[in-house]
Subunit: 417 residues, 2 copies
Amino acid sequence: MKILIENMAQSARSAVQTLSLATAAQKSAALHAAANAMRDAENTIQMANQRDMAAAQEKNLTAALLDRLELNPKRITAMANGVAMVADLPDPVGQVIDAWTRPNGLNIARVRVPLGVIGVIYESRPNVTADAGALTLKAGNAVILRGGSESVHSTKAIHACLMAGLRSAGLPETAIQLMSTQDRAAVGAMLTATGLIDVIVPRGGKSLVALVQAEARVPVFAHLDGICHTYVDKDADLAMARSIVLNAKMRRTGVCGATETLLIDSAVCDTFAMPLFDDLLAAGCEVRACADLVSLDKRLHRATDADWDTEYLDSIIAVKRVDGVDGAIAHINAHSSHHTDAIITDNTTTAERFLREVDSAIVLHNASTQFADGGEFGFGAEIGISTGRMHARGPVGVEQLTTFKYVLRGTGQVRPG
Amino acid sequence: MKILIENMAQSARSAVQTLSLATAAQKSAALHAAANAMRDAENTIQMANQRDMAAAQEKNLTAALLDRLELNPKRITAMANGVAMVADLPDPVGQVIDAWTRPNGLNIARVRVPLGVIGVIYESRPNVTADAGALTLKAGNAVILRGGSESVHSTKAIHACLMAGLRSAGLPETAIQLMSTQDRAAVGAMLTATGLIDVIVPRGGKSLVALVQAEARVPVFAHLDGICHTYVDKDADLAMARSIVLNAKMRRTGVCGATETLLIDSAVCDTFAMPLFDDLLAAGCEVRACADLVSLDKRLHRATDADWDTEYLDSIIAVKRVDGVDGAIAHINAHSSHHTDAIITDNTTTAERFLREVDSAIVLHNASTQFADGGEFGFGAEIGISTGRMHARGPVGVEQLTTFKYVLRGTGQVRPG
């Protein structure tokens, strides 16, 4: 297994060298061709997906997993459009991030370059194949994809379209390699391939994340839980708070940016809590409230300590009364997963304190936590959301898949001393 | 040992929270006070250093190590000035790296924030205490310092000055902690303190780097070898080439930016090689040349294959004849440690190809590789040079010791769909 990874990584490394010299137009053409190939192959992809779906149904996999696995014409179109959108993004490679001239006349520029060989380990969603392939190629990287066993046929069909795109643009097929074996040992071999793979992006559930945390020696863009908070301050506009809280929790409960805990300023609990609960309960959300709040309404459940640290990904919300923005910040910094947290208030000073003092990848003022998404940021697509602090934080788009080098231009300068 | 690190890291984490709210003026005042404390404590620091020097001499440590260990009044002044220079750098925390507004009116800003808890593991140079303490504090981080056993008294004396600076500015002393034990197990415990220490910066020789590579589970700003190249192209100005090559190799041979391999374009070997060799040999440099060149001059030694992959850090240079810029790029990408590589040419097209295609942290045109230094980049100071690709690449200054968060300001936006 180690030799397989070594061989794939070496092919990938030489593809990076070719890609780093490819023009922006070439990479863009490859991705547009891949998107068109996906549109043309809609039937083939769907048939492959039906094989995966049938096998998954036989194994009695959950409805949630079947939903993640399913590709219908609408989803295939969306996937192809996503690849085309990445194709049209500005090319990050060669961008000058910063430039300055030293007193000795040396000109220093910090220039974006590809990150190298990226490993992406994912589970049932076959469309990650397209997103990851497109984003890594756009940034001039080579990628080694390791999809889940449930989606093996769908993934292969999508990968074939990416290959067609690479070929049509004269780029090496080894730029986007799909691991052929379903052996679990391959994941372990990827995670320990230091020097061969530059960074691993894991996309999956808690068990994959735990495995990666335990075994990875290669740097990882980790995605831990998304325990996101919305804090409703005493100076909030109630109508805005109602609309944001309902959206933040209930728009889609299964996304990592969904609010899991609602914090309400004690100064306005009497007036704000009931309308917020009414909306949530009416939308079918279970409300688990702290001791102070649970007495207000017998429809509420009593929250336990564990609730403050739970990512439900479901129609459940924990609610706590806190003493103003200080109480909110203290609770969030103690319980948040440093993913996404929001404040609703009309008081700019209070908002700025929250935005500054809450140590999360994404902090919002008067907006829904469900905006935690690379597409919503204008990144075209994302390969995941990093809750780590190194290199990438928040949505991982094309730019986060690059690194930089320093380019110094002189006229014969030597260093004195 | 694990508990010691846990305690230190927890104190450090709470210091980060305080520091993230400290004003730029407070951090700057702490560092100016620390610099003044160093100037005032010149005698104390020197006496402490003399204890270390005496112990080192008893142990028959090498002259190179004694030199790295020694602190004289001039070096103490330079160290204090370095801390004061960092104090005067612009505060990176809160800087808006980028900002844009989405079609829905959401304003997104990418804002610099502290990286967190930094671990610095170093060896005999006691002044790393001052540099690391100053840079990490400036960026709003807390640091855990693990100095070498040879420099224990010097390090403590310098650390006391940093403490005095923190106290005088009302900042927590736990912002800059010095590990009190010399037990080697402490290094292992730091390297595996995932979740407690955010990044480790190793500063030392090959054995420390190897230990870190083997054991680190915490992210590392690795510094591998500095196998730096200078390529003299056929279109080079010979006088400039002579001056740069001599400086790149001989200004200081022990620094990581020193050129270790000279590549000469085969088109100009006949005219360029001898003058370049004359300068190097006259300066006391041993020249190890490839088969093509060694016949030119009996003062030359024959290079072996190992020479192309050796960081001498000494008055030795490997020289190879290559076929133009293509040959140079191929040799460098095969043998360089991706640290620093230079081209000397008057042909801009050739230079731009080299700058683009050589995959190193620092690439130079018509300048000495000895400029590979944070101070020379205008960073005020550096905590090391990263040969890794993640987060920091090249000189690690204040900015590389930060991360960022996304701050979204809205007016009630909810996400559709």
